[in-house]
């Protein structure tokens, strides 16, 4: 079984910041907007290097989305930055009308997604954002798994002409994908080959899925882990090919089971190849204050939860 090494834990938001810094140097059309969270979003470098292309909008996210839509008219490629909650739920109609329906080339970059935001609690821990964004026609939805991949995704979305939702997080997590990788939107990545079960994970849950395979391996279960960094457009082919081999699937995400990756996968399976599926996701609930590790355990989003889901789904084959 192929194994992966954590080369040093880093936060995915810093991957975004590093990607944005690079874009600042390589693409003069890239501009950035932030709603009073420059430090949290790691946008300091871009601001310092390109003050003319950086827009501090204050605590006014609706205006930020509109400004970004307007900036595209004239050829700019705006990257907006704030927490995931304020990037989506707070500004849904602004994104819907001024960005998605208008077909504007805006990159909505959202940090502190999910429970791992931690102690700030449920007001800030959005678990519905993937659903909100994937329902918008034409919106690309990406949730990279580690620092290196978030940096690569940030750079890649500048080349995609159209609206993108890029979701990342606050805590330091394992950094295990290759440095300077090429990021291909919509292309699932096979991390391990397996024959008994497919585990499709996104974001922070990808590393947890890899951790789960170690325990599963000891139990004699051969798990195929697929990193679905792009939830929309979904790599249907990769999922269908894998389940044709394994016959069952577990989806894992730091998001509500309603509206998330798991439901997208379920649609693909139901319409092509009905397959037993278990969901590692939150169960239609808000979060609460706590450390990221405590929250992931309490809400069933860690490697232990994935192992249990695998054992359950394999019995349903």
């Amino acid at each position: 079984m192929k194994t992966y090494t954590n080369t040093g834990s880093k936060d995915t938001r810093s991957g975004f910041g590093a990607g944005l810094t690079e874009l600042g140097q390589t693409n003069e059309n890239v501009v950035a907007l932030c709603a009073d969270l420059i430090g949290s979003l790691k946008m300091d470098d871009f601001k310092a290097n390109h003050p003319d292309r950086f827009f501090q909008v204050g605590i006014a996210e609706a205006n930020m989305i509109g400004l970004a839509a307007g900036l595209t008219i004239g050829g700019k490629i705006p990257f907006t930055g704030t927490f995931a909650n304020f990037s989506t739920g707070r500004v849904y109609d602004q994104i819907r009308q001024s960005v998605a329906y208008s077909g504007k080339n805006v990159k909505i970059c959202a940090s502190h997604a999910g429970l791992t935001l931690g102690e700030d609690g449920a007001t800030h821990q959005i678990l519905e954002d993937i659903g909100l964004m994937k329902m918008l026609p034409g919106m690309v939805v990406i949730n990279p798994c580690d620092y290196n991949q978030t940096k690569a995704a940030t750079i890649a979305i500048a080349e995609h002409n159209g609206p993108v939702y890029l979701r990342f997080g606050r805590p330091k997590v394992a950094n295990f994908t290759p440095e300077n990788q090429t990021f291909e939107i919509g292309k699932a990545l096979h991390l391990t080959e397996g024959s008994d079960v497919t585990i499709v994970a996104t974001g922070h849950l990808v590393w947890e899925a890899l951790e789960a395979t170690k325990e599963l391996n000891e139990k004699g279960v051969s798990a195929e882990v697929i990193n679905i960094h792009t939830i929309k457009p979904l790599d249907d082919k990769a999922i269908l090919e894998s389940v044709s081999k394994t016959g069952c699937i577990v989806t894992a995400e730091e998001h509500n089971h309603l509206g998330g990756l798991g439901e997208s996968v379920a649609r693909v399976l139901a319409t092509n190849r009905p397959t037993p599926q278990e969901f590692v996701a939150t169960n239609d609930t808000f979060g609460e204050s706590g450390t990221p590790a405590q929250l992931m355990e309490k809400y069933g989003l860690n490697s232990d939860a994935i192992v249990k889901a695998v054992e359950k789904v394999m019995k349903r084959k």
């Binding site: 827009f55 006014a60 205006n63 400004l67």
Partner: protein, 281 residues
């Protein structure tokens, strides 16, 4: 630049277009459209420096954004009669497979439209973004926008108004259509706006008032003053006092025709008050 008589004739024809468009599909918003007919005619035929061919990025020309998208009939009529698309296409307003959606959109690729609007309160932010893009591109042309007065009840406007002054966005002229009416009644009854002039000024804008917003000469004069105030470090607001339903006597001074189409008889009365000038579509 056209002379006043030509602009008057065009305005009359635009009124006919508006009435006929909404009558045909028995839906749409004639009141606000009629109230802004003179403004749109002046904007597209005198005030703005614009290219004949439509390009989304609009480099090297003035741009216009309509925030209160429900007055699409006047927008479509003036765009068509300014050469952006064939006037015959006005026949397709609000019907299936049309580029002339109920509210304006880029989605169907209608030339002249740069943003979807309809859900209110978003246009000011978009216009300001386009204004910032102009500055980044060293493009000295201006951004024009139009907003309903009732629309100012949407909070996003005030985020944008604060942003514009705080960031010295001085290449925008945002016009507020002060007709004092909204769907449920007079703005003073539904949710009073207070002193709009003082509010904009308190937020750091330069405010120009056009008290006869249905008089072409007054509009041209006022907008010329507004233009002269751009480039001075402050955003510019024009308060355009109009009469909803202007030019059709039974539609004037009431919110009743905000979103209601005339019946056959009412259409004939309205058209009789606005004799054909440039030819119906």
């Amino acid at each position: 630049m056209a002379n006043i008589q030509q602009l008057e004739d065009l305005t009359t024809q635009v009124r006919r277009d508006i009435l006929r468009m909404v009558h045909k599909v028995n839906s749409g918003h004639p009141g606000g459209s009629l109230g802004c007919a003179e403004f749109f005619v002046a904007l597209y035929n005198d005030i703005m420096e614009r290219h004949d061919d439509f390009e989304m990025d609009g480099i090297g020309e003035d741009l216009f954004f309509l925030s209160n998208g429900h007055i699409s009939p006047v927008y479509y009529s003036v765009l068509a009669r300014s050469g952006y698309f064939p006037v015959e296409e006005l026949n397709t307003f609000r019907i299936i497979d049309s580029r002339l959606q109920g509210h304006p959109t880029t989605h169907e690729g209608l030339p002249g439209i740069r943003i979807a609007s309809g859900s209110l309160g978003q246009g000011m932010s978009v216009a300001l973004g386009a204004a910032q893009a102009k500055k980044l591109n060293n493009d000295s042309h201006l951004i024009y926008s139009l907003h309903g007065d009732g629309e100012l009840q949407e909070g996003q406007n005030w985020e944008a108004i604060m942003y514009a002054a705080g960031n010295n966005v001085d290449n925008i002229i945002a016009t507020i259509d002060l007709n004092g009416q909204q769907i449920d009644g007079p703005t003073d009854v539904v949710l009073p706006l207070g002193n709009v002039k003082e509010k904009f000024e308190a937020f750091g804008w330069t405010v120009i008032e056009i008290n006869q917003g249905n008089n072409l000469e007054e509009i041209l004069k006022g907008m010329k003053v507004a233009k002269s105030k751009t480039g001075q470090g402050k955003p510019v607001c024009v308060l355009l006092k109009t009469v909803m339903g202007n030019g059709v006597d039974f539609m004037m001074h009431t919110h009743a025709w905000h979103g209601k189409a005339p019946n056959d008889e009412q259409l004939e009365i309205g058209l009789a008050q606005n004799a054909e000038t440039l030819g119906d579509y």
